[in-house]
């Protein structure tokens, strides 16, 4: 029941709603006492032959009014309580989403997206259920239980009430026992179901091997066996599940028998009359539901608590990339200067970058080359503050990047990431992602610079064409160029291209680079690449090796040195040749 305390903040937030809802629930429980009472009165009058049409009409009208009032009240409390729980779910989803937007890439490395999705959907759903069914069951079963039993005992006969209730604890015990058995068997059934899911996943992942070895029938047979196991485990569940209803009706039947039997005895003794007895059995009928619901409540609450704990843990994850104290909100501009002694990723010990010192004047182009895993991307991500420097500093225009706010810093940088992620929206919206207010001519201008405009107009709906799962399938090169166009539209002073031209052909690459040179005069560009042709014109080229700068200089200087860079360059010339089938382009 602790979960109700955990959720108290929300209940308090909607205090009136919950108070009103619970009051209505109680009113319904009390009003529900009227119909059995009316039946009892009429039967008694009929028996005593004192019934008049006036009395009859009176009670029928009372019943009609009660029905109408109860209908309205029931409708209202449902809207109040269920509506509130939905607001809780929406609020939790909103909070989770907001929190997600504040967490750094580090968090996304440590958590699988599937898990985060599950927390935001299943767990939120379980909490919502606690706030609806949980609250409802708790309030309703207690209210109805107390009100009905009190009425039975006080207005009819407390002795008969006690007698009638004798089987009820036994019923509760029996169903609780079944519940425990069910729980175990249900887990086994779920495990069996997980087995067939795994089997199916494996089968589909290994489809080539299965076909190559002609194992289709064997696989089908083993799936059939596993699936039969699911059937058997589920039958075991059904054997217990099927016990609930008969057991309940058995105990309830006995309870009725006791009521009628002893009630008859009281009637003959003159302690009560037949009308009251009928009323009594009708009340008894109203008690069954609260008894059952109470057992059910524990399940809901258990689940809700576990889910609530998980969501709270998630919301408590600290943001690790934050504005430093006194950070000012001014977009930085000017020369870039790296002064890094070492950089080590969080929770690791080996530095990935060492002794990175260089200056880049505003308007210059930097090329970073080197093998995969030598730290090119890391070097760029530090400027973006995807990670914070651990030992050293980076400055723009003479001021540390930590002296401005994150928002201001990122406003100075247009970033084209290595894995070109596009959103499922139109091409125009994707290009205008960083500036949702951009006009069509600007979007087209950016697309032309990224040499993707001609491709776009060939799509069926041009700039309105959707990309992503439900839209058109783009080639890797097209995605990269869209990603470049998206960054260019930001018109930021600094442009980062992180291996962003790998999937476009050499001719397109040089067209894009030429366009950048033309349009981005006086603006700084940082290019990390495998393909050296992309940095031939750079003002400064850094060759990274094991996280250190192995060589530096311009293309001509590095070629003259005849070191790593020169060897890489020559190798790539050969590779290009092989790609073209051995013919010089």
């Amino acid at each position: 029941m602790r979960v109700f305390l955990d959720l108290m903040w929300f209940f308090k937030m909607h205090k009136l709603r919950y108070l009103a809802g619970i009051t209505l629930l109680m009113l319904v429980a009390i009003l529900s006492l009227i119909p059995p009472h009316a039946v009892g009165v009429i039967i008694d009058d009929m028996q005593a032959k004192t019934l008049t049409s006036g009395v009859l009409v009176y009670w029928v009208l009372v019943l009609g009014a009660t029905a109408a009032i109860i209908y309205v009240l029931r409708y209202l409390w449902r809207i109040l309580l269920f509506g509130a729980a939905m607001q809780l779910a929406a609020l939790l989803r909103e909070r989770l989403y907001q929190h997600f937007t504040k967490l750094s890439p580090q968090f996304y490395h440590q958590n699988r997206i599937g898990d985060l999705m599950a927390h935001s959907t299943n767990d939120v759903q379980a909490i919502e259920q606690t706030a609806t069914d949980g609250v409802l069951t708790l309030v309703d079963s207690i209210t109805t239980g107390v009100v009905v039993i009190a009425t039975m005992a006080s207005t009819i006969s407390w002795k008969l009430t006690l007698i009638a209730l004798i089987p009820m604890p036994l019923m509760a015990l029996a169903t609780a026992h079944y519940g425990k058995l069910m729980h175990e068997r249900f887990h086994k059934a779920q495990a069996a179901f997980a087995d067939i899911t795994e089997k199916t996943q494996e089968n589909i992942a290994g489809v080539r091997v299965i076909k190559a070895f002609g194992q289709e029938d064997v696989e089908t047979q083993s799936f059939a066996d596993l699936s039969l196991d699911v059937v058997q485990k589920n039958i075991a569940v059904a054997r217990i599940d099927a016990l609930f209803d008969p057991t309940i009706s058995l105990f309830v039947g006995v309870s009725y028998l006791l009521s009628v039997g002893f009630g008859a005895y009281f009637v003959t003794r003159g302690a009560m009359n037949i009308g009251s007895l009928t009323t009594f059995t009708l009340y008894l009928g109203q008690l069954i539901w609260p008894m059952l619901a109470f057992g059910w409540l524990f399940n809901i609450v258990e689940r809700g608590r576990a889910s609530n704990d998980r969501v709270r843990t998630l919301l408590a994850v600290k943001e690790d990339i934050v504005n430093r104290d006194g950070a000012i909100d001014r977009v930085p501009t000017g020369d870039i200067s790296y002064d890094l002694h070492t950089f080590t990723y969080p929770h690791t010990t080996t530095p990935v970058l060492r002794d990175i010192h260089f200056d880049l004047a505003k308007g210059q182009t930097l090329g970073i080359v080197g093998r995969t895993g030598t730290g090119k991307t890391t070097l760029l991500k530090l400027l973006l503050r995807e990670f914070d420097c651990t030992d050293g500093d980076i400055s723009i225009g003479g001021d540390s990047i930590y002296r401005v706010t994150l928002d201001a810093l990122r406003g100075a940088i247009a970033y084209v990431p290595q894995d070109h992620f596009l959103f499922s929206a139109s091409i125009a919206n994707n290009i205008a992602f960083a500036r949702a207010t951009a006009q069509m001519p600007e979007i087209q201008q950016a697309a032309k610079m990224a040499v993707i405009h001609d491709d776009i107009v060939r799509f069926p709906e041009g700039y309105a064409t959707l990309v992503g799962e439900r839209g058109v399938t783009l080639s890797g090169g097209q995605k990269q160029r869209l990603s470049i166009a998206r960054a260019l539209l930001m018109e930021a002073e600094i442009l980062i291209l992180d291996d962003s031209l790998s999937a476009v052909d050499a001719k397109t690459e040089s067209m894009i680079l030429e366009a950048l040179r033309q349009e981005r005069r006086n603006k700084t560009t940082l290019i990390a690449t495998h393909r050296l042709s992309a940095v031939e014109q750079a003002d400064l080229i850094l060759v990274l090796e094991d996280g250190q700068i192995a060589e530096r200089g311009t293309h001509d200087e590095l070629m003259r040195q005849g070191g790593l860079y020169a060897a890489m360059y020559e190798r790539q010339q050969l590779e290009v040749l092989v790609e073209h089938g051995g013919v010089s382009a």
Binding site: A38, V60, A67, N234, R410, P417, R571, L574
Partner: protein, 603 residues
């Protein structure tokens, strides 16, 4: 198409899906009839209870007449009926559930078998995740339909009929009066179904929008953050979130208006009718109080089944949607190429292992050719190596030889017979494929070598492992050949996984070997074992090998250099080197020397 038309068409296809589902019940006619009989008995004894109490009230309590024996008999009968009801209800539920589970088993195995028979081109274009959820989750939703929806309907309709018959027996006139309830209930159900289906679809739609947005945001968070769009995205998510909440709120409104609260009003109204009926009667004649008691009792129970059925209507809709998807998969027509189905005697056999490609042209999508006029011969026992840049068509040649796809033009001939003429098992048995990414199954080592071929003995497995140099590392495992293999063989190194997949192929003693050389780097020791194993495996077998490292195929009888789907150079290693063409340049590249660039470019 207007909305009405699309609705009725939808309705018609829903009915079709339901009928198709119900057809699966046919083999279970007998157990189902048994279950219905038990249900009938249980319902009958169930509804008799209030009648006994009515007899007690009218015959004994009202006249204050208490003879011991008949009363005990009455009480005994009541308890007896209770027990019979409980027992038969229990048996009846189990019988229905068992049948439902078996039906689901049939559907599951059927769809799984169907998927096994589909061609690789189907798997190429269908995401694995959606396929898995068709076979498991969607069939689970159908299970819900059979286990809870249909059984709830059947049981509750029985109960309703039983109660109604009893009421008729108690007072035919009043029961007849109550008949007007039927159309009202049907009307409420219909209205509810129409309204809730529409809202249900809307909220499902918005939920999937919400999930898509969340998933996409989580994946692209680094872009969102780098481009400072957090605030905009939060707003967008907020709107979707709110839209979803609104849709569900509408669902709550409909439920609150039409479900339990309304059914309860119906109960009260009926109660008013019953009381007026008896009350008015009692003004003129004597009324049996017991009848009134029983009637009121029945009424209280009459509306519970209706509530039960109403709340199941949503799951019904869900199951129909799931079934539609499952049936779509069952009706999929992208079948795997079917081999010669004639008896083994008439189908050709792979005896020598001579392979010939004659002018083979192939395209996956029917538009761009990935192979153009490929012709070559691998004589029995020879090794033919395929080299070329990524996308040059090497893997496609292997895919065609394995008959994963049907060729468009040209012919593949094995030992003088066209590939199509062979029975599939013969091909699978005689052509051993070693894939680049060795796939291991959950189970033990033996299972991974043997797979489903029961005629491979334990000794064969060990011999195969020894042959491919895998025996040494297997024996070092705590449980040797019984060592468990986890999902995808996670605890084995890339090299060990390869050796195991070699053993799997060799255990079949194939005539022809198809190798897709791994690019993954392995440690030197294992690498040596792999190369040694490959040499031994190739001995005496026709081998078609994709080579990424030219060093491993220097002794090949024929090397085919592919470029953009065509063979541009052919010959053995020495011949190709002297040609100084593409092969020569690839060779230089792999020698890891850029300084000889001048030489290569000049060539």
């Amino acid at each position: 198409m207007n909305e009405y038309e699309s609705n009725t068409r939808q309705g018609r296809s829903d009915r079709g899906v339901l009928m198709r589902l119900l057809r699966y019940m046919r083999p279970y006619r007998q157990p189902l009839v048994g279950a219905f009989i038990m249900l009938g008995i249980a319902t009958a004894t169930d509804v008799l209870g209030p009648i006994i109490i009515k007899v007690f009230i009218d015959r004994y309590l009202q006249p204050r007449y208490f003879p011991r024996a008949p009363l005990l008999l009455l009480a005994g009968a009541y308890v007896g009926l209770l027990c019979i009801t409980a027992i038969f209800n229990y048996l009846q539920v189990i019988a229905f559930q068992k049948t439902a589970l078996k039906i689901i088993q049939t559907i599951r195995v059927e769809v799984f078998r169907k998927v096994q028979g589909l061609g690789l081109s189907f798997f190429d274009r269908t995401p694995a995740g959606s396929l898995v959820s068709r076979i498991t989750n969607d069939t689970e939703a159908i299970q819900d339909l059979f286990m809870s929806v249909l059984s709830t309907f059947v049981q509750n309709i029985f109960l309703l009929i039983g109660i109604y018959i009893s009421m008729f027996f108690l007072s035919a006139r009043l029961a007849a009066l109550c008949l007007i309830l039927a159309p009202i209930i049907v009307l409420i159900m219909h209205v509810y179904r129409v309204l809730s289906t529409r809202i249900y679809h809307l909220s499902r739609q918005r939920l999937s929008l919400l999930n898509a947005k969340l998933n996409e945001s989580l994946q692209g968070m680094y872009v969102i953050q780098a481009m400072r769009q957090e605030r905009r995205l939060r707003r967008e998510f907020g709107e979707i979130n709110e839209g979803y909440r609104q849709a569900r709120l509408r669902n709550i409104h409909v439920n609150a208006l039409l479900l339990r609260p309304l059914i309860d009003v119906l109960y009260m109204v009926t109660l008013m009718v019953v009381l007026s009926f008896f009350g008015y009667q009692s003004l003129h004649v004597r009324v049996e109080i017991g009848v009134l008691y029983a009637f009121v009792n029945y009424l209280e129970r009459f509306f519970e089944p209706i509530n039960n059925m109403m709340v199941r209507l949503n799951s019904f809709q869900q199951a129909i949607v799931a079934s539609t998807r499952v049936f779509e998969l069952m009706d999929e027509t992208t079948l795997a190429p079917i081999g010669n189905l004639e008896t083994a005697s008439s189908a050709p056999l792979v005896t020598e292992g001579r392979i010939e490609f004659r002018n083979v042209t192939f395209s996956y999508d029917g538009r761009t050719d990935v192979l153009r006029s490929i012709s070559f011969v691998a004589e029995s026992g020879q090794t033919v190596a395929l080299v070329g840049h990524t996308g040059s068509g090497k893997s496609t040649i292997i895919n065609l030889l394995m008959r994963f796809y049907e060729i468009d033009q040209g012919e593949i001939i094995i030992d003088g017979s066209s590939l199509q003429a062979f029975a599939t098992p013969e091909l699978r048995r005689r052509i051993g494929l070693v894939l680049q990414d060795p796939f291991l199954f959950v189970g033990d080592i033996r299972h991974n070598v043997r797979l489903g071929n029961t005629d491979i003995s334990d000794a064969d497995i060990e011999a195969a492992a020894q042959f491919v140099q895998a025996d040494a590392f297997i024996r070092k495992l705590p449980n040797a050949y019984e060592e468990k293999v986890a999902e995808r063989g996670a605890k084995f190194s890339a090299g060990q996984r390869q050796l195991l997949s070699f053993a799997r192929t060799i255990a079949l003693q194939p005539k022809v070997l198809v190798l897709d050389e791994a690019t993954a780097s392995v440690d030197t020791e294992t690498e040596e074992a792999i190369q040694e194993a490959l040499r031994k495996m190739r001995k005496g077998r026709t081998t078609i090998a994709i080579a990424h490292r030219l060093s491993t195929i220097q002794d090949a009888d024929l090397i085919l250099v592919l470029h953009q789907g065509e063979i541009v150079e052919r010959g053995n290693h020495q011949e190709l080197l002297t040609q100084r063409g593409l092969y020569h340049k690839m060779y230089l590249l792999q020698q890891g020397t850029g300084l000889r660039r001048t030489e290569a470019v000049q060539a």
